[in-house]
């Protein structure tokens, strides 16, 4: 496992979406310390795996909702219900505009909920703003 400090943890099962996302972030030099995991189970192992909790946490978690095995909402729930991980910003990146999902995620304490636009320009803009905001503008607790 990568022992370097992680800036962004991207949990996305769709490799195309992941590639476009990473590509855009990299364009703005925001993806130097980025870890891409392909489902919720891997994400939970990465965050809460044996003895790792309380170690270096990512500065931002980008979560897709619809994923095999363990979905994004469950991962969000785990992060936000754990004292040590609660402060970590989690942004949901999803194709779904469905009301119940949005409500549920905010109810669980999500920091942002982004619907990925089909339009590429809008999509890249959203990713760019997202990265800049959470990694540069936002001041996490020390």
């Amino acid at each position: 496992m990568n022992q370097d400090p992680v800036d962004i943890l991207l949990v996305e099962d769709n490799i195309d979406d992941a590639e476009l996302t990473i590509r855009e972030l990299r364009k703005h030099r925001l993806a130097n310390n980025l870890v891409h995991l392909k489902d919720g189970e891997e994400a939970l192992t990465f965050l809460f795996g044996s003895g790792k909790v309380g170690g270096t946490l990512p500065k931002l978690v980008l979560l897709d909702i619809q994923m095999p095995k363990v979905n994004g909402i469950e991962v969000l729930q785990q992060i936000k219900s754990n004292e040590l991980t609660r402060a970590t910003p989690v942004v949901i990146l999803t194709s779904s505009k469905e009301d119940p999902d949005i409500r549920r995620c905010y109810g669980l304490g999500v920091n942002s909920y982004i619907v990925k636009p089909v339009n590429f320009e809008q999509f890249t803009e959203a990713i760019r703003n997202l990265g800049l905001y959470w990694l540069i503008l936002n001041q996490p607790p020390t």
Partner: protein, 665 residues
């Protein structure tokens, strides 16, 4: 001897043959005189007795046995004469005369004895005077009684309530009582002595009367004596009347008489006739009523199940229908109560309520399930009518029932079917619910899974354009742009489809909508930054509507944007918005002068993905109007459209008014 007899009578008074008695024998004076005086006493006595007898006879007229009296007088006289001759024999001894006298005395004595013997039994039968006195007394009494009874008879005769007429054998009136006088108008003075036939017998009966009288006189037989007869009589004034008559024969002083008792029964006859008529009439009416009642009974027995019970519920009558349906014979039912057909279906409360009702003299109606003898069940519509006595207490109950088993069966089946239907509806609802859920999850996966590949297509095409543009020629760049355009279009399609499916499940919250304000906002929104063509807006005053503010807004957006879109190219484009009342609903219409459409396709307008224009002419996904239709029908309203190619189109929707039942007319 003959010489002696002649001598005897010649010397009858000669006393010379014998010395006087004083000188014959030795007589003392005392003895002689005792003898003489005694004889003289006897003689004088014997001579006085006939005098007394003669005197007695001469005084009494009713003397019987008068010969015996004279004979007795002669015999006593003769005896006296012998004693006298005995006495004078002391001086003058006429013994021949003496003997003759004694002979005469003997003959008279024996004659008397003979007569006494002959008449003695007759004499014994003669009553003594005491007896005669008693008899006389009795006779006197009887006479008094007889007179009294005669007077009583007369009183009865006078006071009799019936006319009493006595006639003799010749038919002449002998007696005529006052009632007869008042009845027939003839007084007793006028009637007595007249022939009866001329007084009261009508002309037509006179011959028969005469004939009857003659026959009775000749033969002693009669058809009418002793019988009560009813016939007609006439009065002095000629008036005829009905009479009841009875005639009895009687004998008075050896004369045969006839006593007739006559009563005027004219009134009685008339009454009888009236009573007879009334009776006939009554009988007729009773018969009619009976027939009517029996007709009713027949009709009832034909049509209904009838049972009668006493006040304790014991069956006293059942008709054939009752037996037929219960399958019990009449004998099995009589004397039983209705528990024999109790099905046990009804609660005790129902049965108690029934009894309380009818025991209070009220009619009970209801439907009862009964059990027949063979264990099968039947339903009867039942009416129980209590019959009340004078004190208002039921003395019997008449139960009239109708067989409703079939109806009940149908009802039960209907009920069952209903339940089945409900079950099926429930099942369908559940199925529908699950289908809806599936649909939702389908919509979700559409939005999620279909958009992701699109994004990838657009994304990687964009990368190609941006990062490899130097390596692409013009045609390659055109191709990549076509790929991007179609991919974006598909994105819109998916968005609309999701909006459409969301509209179906969205709850609508109705409030009052300021239509004019909403329409102006929508127009402003849609025309902002679009100055390419000029639109002439005709906005009529619009009524407030009652509906869900978000979805109704979507409807307006759709209608107005369509109007703008399809009137593009008209110079000037003209859009008119109005409202009116239709079928009790508030209708709104958006009318344009655009390309319009052929009305034969208007049914397709509101179906999803149905379009009348190709996308090169007018962009669109074919979802908008389907969404409108869905929203309006959720509101309980209607949508419709009217168009003409090249002339324009009009799209309308109507909404129910605010409060239920308060609709525009």
């Amino acid at each position: 001897m003959g010489r002696d007899i002649i001598d005897f009578f010649q010397k009858l008074l000669d006393s010379s043959d014998w010395p006087p008695r004083w000188h014959c024998g030795k007589w003392t004076d005392f003895h002689g005189w005792l003898y003489i005086i005694s004889d003289l006493l006897v003689w004088s006595a014997y001579f006085s007795i006939p005098l007394i007898i003669i005197r007695y006879i001469s005084r009494r007229q009713d003397i019987r046995f008068i010969r015996l009296y004279f004979l007795f007088a002669a015999f006593i006289l003769a005896c006296g004469a012998t004693h006298f001759l005995d006495a004078i024999a002391f001086w003058l001894p006429v013994y021949r005369l003496n003997a003759l006298t004694r002979l005469i005395t003997g003959i008279l004595s024996w004659t008397t004895v003979f007569y006494l013997v002959k008449y003695l039994p007759l004499a014994f039968s003669l009553k003594s005077s005491k007896e005669l006195e008693i008899e006389i007394e009795q006779r006197k009494k009887a006479e008094v009684l007889s007179r009294e009874s005669e007077r009583q008879v007369q009183d009865l005769f006078d006071a009799a309530p019936d006319a009493v007429i006595v006639i003799n054998e010749e038919g002449y009136v002998v007696k005529w009582n006052p009632k007869a006088a008042s009845l027939f108008g003839w007084t007793a003075e006028e009637a007595v002595g007249q022939p009866l036939s001329g007084l009261i017998i009508p002309e037509r009966y006179r011959a028969a009367h005469q004939h009857g009288m003659v026959r009775h006189a000749r033969t002693g037989r009669s058809d009418i004596l002793g019988k009560a007869l009813e016939l007609q009589a006439c009065a002095k004034d000629g008036r005829e009347m009905d009479i009841a008559l009875s005639i009895s024969p009687t004998f008075t002083n050896g004369t045969r008489l006839f006593v007739g008792f006559i009563r005027d029964i004219t009134w009685q006859k008339k009454s009888q006739e009236e009573i007879r008529k009334l009776n006939t009439d009554l009988e007729q009416r009773v018969l009619e009523r009976l027939r009517e009642v029996s007709d009713y009974k027949f009709a009832l027995d034909e049509s209904a199940i009838v049972a009668i019970t006493d006040q304790k519920g014991i069956i006293t009558h059942v008709n054939d229908n009752f037996c037929k349906i219960s399958k019990y014979s009449r004998d099995e039912l009589m004397g039983q109560d209705h528990r024999i057909i109790n099905s046990g279906y009804h609660s005790k409360t129902v049965i108690r309520d029934l009894w309380v009702t009818i025991a209070h003299g009220e009619i009970w109606r209801g439907e009862l399930k009964n059990r027949a003898k063979d264990g099968s069940y039947y339903w009867v519509d039942t009416t129980i009518v209590p019959f009340l006595n004078e004190s208002g207490k039921p003395y019997q109950y008449v139960a009239i029932r109708a067989d409703i088993t079939h109806r009940k069966k149908v009802e039960e089946e209907f009920h069952k079917l209903n339940e089945e239907l409900e079950d099926r509806v429930d099942l369908r609802t559940i199925q529908l619910e699950s289908a809806k859920k599936e649909m939702e999850s389908f919509a979700y996966s559409v939005s999620h899974d279909l958009r992701a590949p699109l994004r990838a297509i657009v994304g990687f095409t964009s990368i190609l354009e941006e990062e490899y543009s130097s390596k692409l020629d013009d045609e390659a760049r055109r191709v990549t742009s076509v790929i991007k355009k179609n991919t974006l279009k598909m994105g819109h399609l998916i968005d609309d489809l999701l909006a459409f499916s969301r509209a179906g499940k969205q709850e609508i919250v109705k409030t009052t909508i300021d239509t004019e304000k909403m329409v102006r906002e929508v127009i402003n929104e849609l025309t902002a930054g679009n100055s390419t063509n000029h639109i002439e807006w005709v906005l009529h005053p619009l009524a407030s509507a009652y509906g869900d503010i978000h979805t109704i807004r979507q409807v307006w957006v759709n209608f107005i944007s369509n109007a703008i879109k399809y009137s593009r190219g008209q110079e000037p484009a003209r859009i008119e918005i109005d409202h009116f009342i239709q079928d009790g609903q508030l209708a709104f219409c958006v009318k344009d002068n655009g390309v319009g459409f052929n009305n034969k396709y208007r049914d397709k307008l509101f179906r999803v993905f149905q379009r009348l224009h190709n996308p090169e002419e007018f962009e669109g996904t074919g979802v908008g109007l389907a969404l409108v239709e869905k929203i309006i029908s959720k509101h309980g309203g209607r949508v419709w459209a009217d168009g003409e190619p090249g002339k324009g189109a009009q799209f309308c929707f109507s909404l129910p008014t605010g409060r239920d039942g308060d609709q525009y007319i």
